[in-house]
Subunit: 304 residues, 2 copies
Amino acid sequence: MTTANHDLTVEEWSKMSKNVRVLNENRETKRIVIEGQIEEGEGDEKTTKSGILILDKEPFQFDEVLTLMKDNEQQFKVDFINDIYRQYTVAARSACNNVKSTFIYPATPLHVEKYSKKDFALVTETHRRYETIVLPYIEKQQFNLQWVYNVLDGKSERERVLLDTDDFLLALNPSWDGTVNDSLHALAIVKPRNIRSIRDLKSEHLPLLQSVLEKSMNFFSSKYGLSSKNIRAFFHYPPSYYHLHIHFTALANRICGVEVERARLLQDVIDHIQLQDDYYQTKTLYYKLATTNPLYKLFEDDEN
Amino acid sequence: MTTANHDLTVEEWSKMSKNVRVLNENRETKRIVIEGQIEEGEGDEKTTKSGILILDKEPFQFDEVLTLMKDNEQQFKVDFINDIYRQYTVAARSACNNVKSTFIYPATPLHVEKYSKKDFALVTETHRRYETIVLPYIEKQQFNLQWVYNVLDGKSERERVLLDTDDFLLALNPSWDGTVNDSLHALAIVKPRNIRSIRDLKSEHLPLLQSVLEKSMNFFSSKYGLSSKNIRAFFHYPPSYYHLHIHFTALANRICGVEVERARLLQDVIDHIQLQDDYYQTKTLYYKLATTNPLYKLFEDDEN
């Protein structure tokens, strides 16, 4: 086996790579993910290494837009003209043309899997299916929660903690640098260690949920001057780990899974438990799963 | 008054316009909206006309990505290198640099308002507030529903109708051209004319809601080969018009207001009415409104 050439530049890789294909693309956010392969070594030692190139168009910068408008290099090609409305296509040769590019080389099959397009599908989780399919799956997986306990015990990520109360710990989400208010994303991690998800919530937890909502909103108000009217507090179901946590994001931040088939407002959860103590033990929950998720396969088997 | 020069090209406008400012921007979708002003006429006849330039970066095209990779004109500027992960910025001078540009000139103050950044805020609609604030507001506005009745009566938009049943009419949403399955967006408009929104729904409407869900999903399956697992059926609350209608969008289509503070899954609505007949007459609803919406002002007044 030859060792991979870690020093291959992205320019060299781009020109040399074979079997170039699209792993994924997002037309809404203007991203594309490309895989290409490089042959290394000779004869019996010949191996093929994958590389992954992730391209993201950058947001517009005002000063660059001014350059685009004032520069003579740009040409506005007319698509259509209808009264006061006109549409053009501009090839931005000298401004507004930056592409952020992430290059992974050599990429393992796990990298290729991680960056490939995932299909999602809705599942119907009745309380029977929760008990017979989901709960055994969670228990069998024995998801490692040590990292959560380390955060709660102050053994790691202490610099991300915003607020520490008897009931919960409020922490910066890693995706948020703590500066731009429009992209606020914080997480409340509850102190009790026996609440896996909203499926476990009953009226005995109402004081905990009220405490999370009120103390966190008070914190955002006093620390950042943000009103609770501009922040959504919600759970993901299913969660990415089975220790109860609540997301707080700025209303303007739509990136972190706020779709109705994935998110549940904390206030709705409180209302529903007040309406019926066992609401979350009996309600059928509708949500989406990646079709590559092992849980999805279990649901499919149950239908047949 | 001089008349506006409708023939001004976007290039001329770009170079001549003054007081250029950002009306709105979306860093997630890579859009920016610019306003600029042109002075027309002389002396007493001098007037100022606004123009609006909307710039959207185009999604990546695979053939252009290949050009970007193979072309010698591009330079990959290193941002950081960390083991197998490297990040670069590329100024895309010869490919992947298309900007879709919409130009409105002359633009009225209403155009400027329409394309300006809107702030949203969450409101808490208790059933008391629905009865004392929202319902009187709806009735006072007397939103004109004649266009809906024209569609139901087959007097307009007949070419958009997909399915006509005793209970409802299924129509293409104008934003969808009916071809790409990932961007599916259809609307079910119910035949009864006395249901304003989910606030009016009770157990007597369950057969109607079940019919909408089942017949629409059967249609998408037989006509487009789409499974109900890949389509979300939901209401907006508040709706944009007060005649009950249900949205159907592909799971992959996240554009049409699917945030948890705006959308309610049809299946959840059915479940909730089965749980409690007057669920939607009594439940507090949390949702977002543009702060420029007159209804938002009424909520604010009620709080003070």
